[in-house]
Symmetry: C2
Subunit: 295 residues, 2 copies
């Protein structure tokens, strides 16, 4: 197997990579390799028709009909299926562990994915690297892929052992060559922070869309929404199955975020009901002050 | 007084206009007149320093220190102060009713503004036109003004009597000349629809920002938020005083929207707690399907 490494300041192209799950993220990994590493052979596998679409779009060199065929001789296997499908996929990948070199995942939650990997991967666990590219879009499927999705975005890595740290050191230059900024993070901190800044906002927006959709103004709101509501609810068009997985997977940190949100809603509501304009203004001002500092 | 009217297909420039409240909306009205009607003399009045800033920016020809001086000889008085300040302003404008021709407001709520106008304006009520330009920004103050803010945006009018309908017929061509699309709407329908598509999303986003700001991840979230959270919370940087006014002013329709949102949150939460992935996915899918149809 070819070894991706820094050589005279340049990262050598991995000879073959395998992408399990060729949706928005998997497709964008393929597109990014196409852009940066012209020599890499890219195989993809998906449960639905995504891999065929990705092949059609020129993102893949091969769309495989089995996981086994997909990972054969791969330097890096990117696991980019929804987090709910990962435990079963780890189980299958463990069977073919002799065929590929390194494995990394792109799951939006880390503790549950790592726990599943620990249970199912067996000796392959030492060649596995938990990861999370911080990039996304409300689009989905390979047709939403972008060769620049990871440029200037963080790609977080959560190695769990000295062996996995060595994998991280090998894979990091490849991810950086795709344009991303690699950072090592602790899995629990990751899950709590992303519950707050990613999972909770999606949850809130889905609930808002549901309330509007099934209320008396659902139809009018479709055509008369201004830029405010459109921007606020943009992520509400995201994939339902993908996000249901993430929510269930990272339930406890998400519930902590939701509890804080509920408390803020209740405090504001009390001031609305009593018509306490000064206190309501002061409370909103604290919210607004924070938002103005977001960079 | 000069009469703005269609003449050979062109709208004559109003001779003088007065803008009471020269913040984002008032400043943008001034900037739009500058762009379209070079002959119009534009006076502004504000309680804080906004009118001086607007004068400095070249948006106004005069910054007045009294309402009386501002509205003298005005063909149209645009009332663009926060809705909470409108009742007192109607009271003062009634005193100077002989000095100006027409009066219209830009308030985001209509029933309470109309009720205040009815109480305070006296005979000027017949020359008053309740209005609402559907345009805004998370920026505020005259420095956030734009000469194109109203272009291709709806400018809603709620005439309450045949006399006000005649005012609407006279003012509409001027508003259309600024680029807006004039529509007549019923005040109650207006307030309920905007509670849902504007006031409720602002409320929700303020509560979300508050929950994040005052939770354990407030500082990290400032620097690590992705495009999703940034877009979702963009309107959270809006003016606290302005929005507290609107919320209190349109409390009942807003509470109806909040109740529907709370119900959706609760239904989703139950499914999260029981780990009912299929039902949660189906529920989110209903939300997502609606959002994809927003145009």
């Amino acid at each position: 197997l070819a070894n991706p490494q820094l050589f005279d300041g340049k990262v050598l192209a991995p000879g073959k990579i395998a992408i399990i799950g060729t949706g928005l993220i998997g497709g964008s990994i393929a597109a990014s390799f196409r852009r940066v590493f012209s020599g890499t052979w890219i195989r993809g596998y998906s449960q639905a028709n995504d891999a065929n679409v990705a092949l059609q779009l020129g993102l893949l060199d091969e769309a495989c009909i089995t996981v086994e065929a997909c990972v054969a001789d791969a330097d890096i296997v990117f696991l980019a299926c929804p987090v709910g499908a990962m435990p079963a996929m780890f189980e299958e990948l463990a069977l073919h562990g002799a065929k590929f070199r390194w494995l990394t995942d792109c799951g939006s939650t880390k503790r549950s994915v790592i726990a599943a990997a620990r249970v199912h991967l067996g000796p392959v666990f030492d060649r596995y690297l938990p990861g999370h590219p911080i990039a996304g879009s409300e689009r989905h499927g390979p047709a939403g892929a972008s060769a620049h999705l990871f440029v200037k975005r963080n790609w977080l890595l959560c190695p769990q052992s000295p062996a996995q740290e060595r994998v991280a050191e090998q894979i990091a230059p490849v991810l950086e060559a795709l344009g991303s900024q690699v950072k090592w993070v602790d899995a629990l901190s990751h899950d709590e922070l992303f519950a707050e800044i990613s999972h909770f906002p999606h949850w809130m927006v889905f609930a808002a869309c549901l309330g509007i959709a099934e209320g008396p103004h659902g139809a009018a709101a479709m055509t008369q929404s201004g830029a405010g509501l459109k921007d606020t609810t943009r992520i509400g068009a995201s994939s339902a199955a993908l996000w249901a997985d993430i929510f269930i997977d990272n339930r406890e940190p998400l519930e902590a975020s939701l509890d804080r949100f509920d408390l803020a809603l209740k405090q504001m509501r009390t001031l609305l009901e009593t018509g306490d304009r000064a206190s309501l203004t002061a409370m909103i001002d604290r919210a607004s002050t924070w938002r103005k500092l977001v960079t």
